[in-house]
C-alpha cells in the first residue's frame, strides 16, 4: 500500500513537470497532498508492537518504558524493572478495576489476574476503558483484548466467575495460590490483591480469601452518589480486616432508611472512579516498588476536595476466625520484627559520621529523641484527624457478647429433616 502511494506521488510529480500550462499545477499539487495524507493514514493502521525483553532507559520515541525508567534517574524508584516480577490480582473489572488494570498494564506490570462475571453494557459507557463495540463481551475478555494491544509484555489471565459462591471461591483461592509465574516467591502466587468490587458480599469474600492466605490487599470503593471514594490497605493481622468493623448501619443502630433513598439506581462518574483508580494504583506502585509512604487509608470527598487519612488496628473481637489467627501470629512475631528494625536503625546510624553539625549553638536548640516523640504519638493516636468522628464505641468499652448457651445436643438426623421438609413441600 505504502509503495503504491509512493509511485502515485512520483507519477504526479513527473506529470507536474511535464505540464506546460502552469495553471494546471495547482490541482496536481492538491492531488499530491491527498496522496501524502493517505500515506500517513496507512501508517497509522494498528500494528501490534512486539514484546520487549528488557526494559531500557534509552530515551527514544520507540521505547515504551523510557518515561517509566526515568523514575530511577530522578531518584524516585531504586529499581523500576522489578515491576516485571510482580503479579497483581484485580477483583471486579468495573469503573475502578478496569482503569486500574490499564494503569498497571501501561506501567509494565509482570502479570495481571482479572476477575469478573459480568458483561459489558451500554450503561457502563459513562465510565472509562470499555468501548461501545465491546458491549455483550464479558468484562474480562474485553479487558484482555484491550490490554494485550496496549502492552503485550504483560501476562494476562482472565477468570470469569462469581467469587462469592462456594465453587467460585475455591477456584479464586487456587488461582491466587498458583505460583507458576514466579516459583521462588514466598507466600501466595500474587504480590497484591486489589478489590474493585461494588458490593459487600464480594468484599467479604476477598477479605476471607486474603485472611486465609495471609495475603496483603487493597480495598477501593466509590460511594453510591458518585462524589466520594476511598482506598484502604489491609495487611492480615497487622491492620483492620474488612470484617473487623461492622457496617455503619449495623453498629450504630440508626435507621438504615435515612442512609439510602429507595428505588434510586447508583450514580457513577468517570471522574471520581478515575481518581480512586489513580489513588489505588499509586498506592500499589509505592507498595510494590518501595518508594514514598504507603497510605493505610485514604478517603476522597470530591465535594470539599477533602482527603482524610487514618490507620485502623485490627479488632481483637473480630468475627472472622482467620483474622484472629493472623492477629495472633503478628503478635508472636513482634520480637523478631523489633530486632530487625533495631538492626536496621543501628546499621543506618553507623553510616552517619559522628561530627557536630553546628560548632556553636547560640539559641540552645536541642534535638528531642525520636523514640520519645513516638511514644507520645502513640498515646494520642486515638485522636482522629480533623473532620472525622467515631461511630463505634471503643473496643474495650463494648460489652463482651454473652457466653453462648450450650447448644442442645441435636439428636435428629439431617436426612430425616430433609424428608420432613420434602413431605411439607409435596
Amino acid at each position: 500500500m505504502e509503495a503504491e502511494l509512493k509511485d502515485m506521488w512520483n507519477d504526479l510529480e513527473s506529470l507536474k513537470h511535464s505540464l506546460t500550462d502552469p495553471s494546471l499545477r495547482g490541482p496536481v499539487d492538491k492531488l499530491q497532498l491527498h496522496v501524502e495524507r493517505l500515506t500517513n493514514l496507512s501508517k497509522s493502521v494498528p500494528v501490534r508492537r512486539s514484546k520487549v525483553k528488557d526494559m531500557s532507559a534509552e530515551v527514544v520515541d520507540s521505547n515504551p518504558y523510557s518515561r517509566l525508567m526515568a523514575l530511577q534517574r530522578m531518584g524516585i524508584v531504586e529499581n523500576y524493572e522489578r515491576i516485571r516480577e510482580f503479579s497483581v490480582a484485580i477483583v471486579g473489572i468495573g469503573g475502578v478495576g478496569s482503569v486500574a488494570a490499564e494503569m498497571l498494564t501501561r506501567c509494565g506490570i509482570g502479570r495481571l489476574l482479572l476477575y469478573d462475571y459480568d458483561k459489558v453494557e451500554l450503561a457502563n459507557m459513562n465510565r472509562l476503558f470499555f468501548r461501545p463495540e465491546q458491549v455483550g463481551m464479558t468484562k474480562t475478555d474485553a479487558a484482555v483484548q484491550t490490554l494485550a494491544d496496549i502492552n503485550p509484555d504483560v501476562v494476562l489471565e482472565s477468570y470469569t466467575f462469581n467469587i462469592t459462591t462456594v465453587q467460585g471461591f475455591e477456584t479464586f483461592m487456587s488461582s491466587l495460590r498458583n505460583k507458576s509465574f514466579s516459583p521462588t516467591k514466598e507466600g501466595s502466587g500474587v504480590d497484591l490483591v486489589l478489590s474493585c468490587v461494588d458490593n459487600y458480599e464480594a468484599r467479604m469474600a476477598v477479605n476471607q480469601a486474603c485472611n486465609e492466605l495471609n495475603q496483603t490487599w487493597m480495598e477501593s470503593g466509590v460511594s453510591e452518589d458518585a462524589v466520594s471514594g476511598h482506598i484502604q490497605l489491609l495487611i492480615p493481622g497487622e491492620t483492620a480486616c474488612f470484617a473487623c468493623a461492622p457496617p455503619l448501619v449495623v453498629a450504630s443502630g440508626i435507621d438504615e432508611r435515612t442512609l439510602k433513598r429507595e428505588g434510586v439506581c447508583a450514580a457513577s462518574l468517570p471522574t471520581t472512579m478515575g481518581v480512586v483508580a489513580g489513588l489505588l494504583v499509586q498506592n500499589t506502585l509505592k507498595f510494590l516498588l518501595k518508594f514514598g509512604h504507603v497510605s493505610p487509608y485514604l478517603g476522597y470527598n470530591s465535594l470539599k476536595d477533602y482527603f482524610p487519612t487514618m490507620e485502623m488496628r485490627p479488632n481483637p473481637q473480630c468475627s472472622n476466625v482467620a483474622c484472629l489467627e493472623r492477629q495472633k501470629e503478628f503478635i508472636i512475631a513482634k520480637p523478631a520484627r523489633d530486632a530487625a528494625a533495631m538492626a536496621k536503625m543501628e546499621a543506618e546510624a553507623l553510616t552517619v559520621e559522628e561530627i557536630p553539625l553546628h560548632a556553636d549553638n547560640e539559641w540552645n536548640i536541642s534535638v528531642v529523641d525520636e523514640v520519645e516523640i513516638e511514644t507520645v504519638g502513640a498515646t494520642s493516636s486515638d485522636a482522629l484527624p480533623e473532620g472525622l468522628v467515631r461511630e463505634l464505641p471503643n473496643a474495650d468499652e463494648s460489652q463482651h457478647p454473652p457466653p453462648a448457651e450450650p447448644a442442645a445436643p441435636s439428636l435428629d438426623d439431617l436426612e430425616d429433616l430433609k424428608r420432613q421438609l420434602e413431605a411439607l413441600n409435596s
Binding site: 457496617p247 439431617l414 429433616l417
Partner: protein
C-alpha cells in the same frame, strides 16, 4: 423492626432462631447449621400452612446444601402469580445473607440486580447483619422475599410487565 406489619412480626417470633455460626466450608459445623436451617424452614412452612398462608417451596439442590431451588407465589386480585426461586449459600455465610434470585423477572424491574437477584439492600440486609448468626434461610424468605413480592408483584402486574399464566390472549380483562 419498626415499620414492619404486626403479622410479619408475630410470624417472625415463631420461626426458631439458629445458633451455629458456620458457613459451607466449615465441615461438621456446617452440617449442624444445615440441621438448624431445616428445623427453621420446617417450622415456618408448617406455620404458613396452618395459617392458610402457604407461599413457597424450597429444597436443597445439592447434597452439601449450598444451592437451593424452589417456587414462590403471590396472590394479587385473586390470581396466583408463581415464580422460580433459587439462590446459593455464599461462601461468607452467615456473615452475608443469601442473594435470593427470581430469574424469570430479570430485567423486568429496577428493584433487582443482574441475574434476577432481588434487591434486599435496604429492607433486609441491615436486619440480617444485626441478627447474625441467628437468622437463616427461613428468615430471609420471611423478611426478605415476602415483602419484596408484596411490593413488586402488584406493580409488575399493573404495569403489564407480567401476565397471569391463564391470560394468554392479548385481550386483558380486569
Amino acid at each position: 423492626m419498626e415499620g414492619w406489619d404486626p403479622n410479619t412480626k408475630s410470624t417472625l417470633t415463631q420461626i426458631p432462631l439458629l445458633t451455629t455460626k458456620a458457613g459451607p466450608r466449615d465441615g461438621a459445623a456446617w452440617t449442624q447449621r444445615l440441621k438448624e436451617e431445616y428445623k427453621a424452614l420446617i417450622a415456618y412452612t408448617q406455620m404458613n400452612k396452618s395459617n392458610d398462608n402457604d407461599w413457597f417451596r424450597i429444597s436443597a439442590a445439592n447434597p452439601e446444601g449450598t444451592r437451593w431451588i424452589g417456587k414462590c407465589w403471590y396472590i394479587h386480585n385473586l390470581l396466583k402469580y408463581e415464580f422460580d426461586l433459587q439462590f446459593d449459600i455464599p461462601v461468607t455465610y452467615p456473615s452475608t445473607a443469601p442473594e435470593l434470585e427470581l430469574p424469570e423477572l430479570d430485567g423486568k424491574t429496577q428493584k433487582m440486580y443482574r441475574g434476577g437477584k432481588i434487591c434486599l439492600t435496604i429492607h433486609f440486609k441491615p436486619l440480617w447483619a444485626k441478627n447474625c448468626p441467628r437468622f437463616g434461610i427461613a428468615h430471609a424468605l420471611c423478611l426478605g422475599l415476602a415483602p419484596w413480592l408484596a411490593a413488586e408483584v402488584p406493580i409488575l402486574v399493573d404495569s403489564g410487565m407480567i401476565k397471569h399464566k391463564d391470560d394468554t390472549t392479548s385481550t386483558s380483562e380486569s
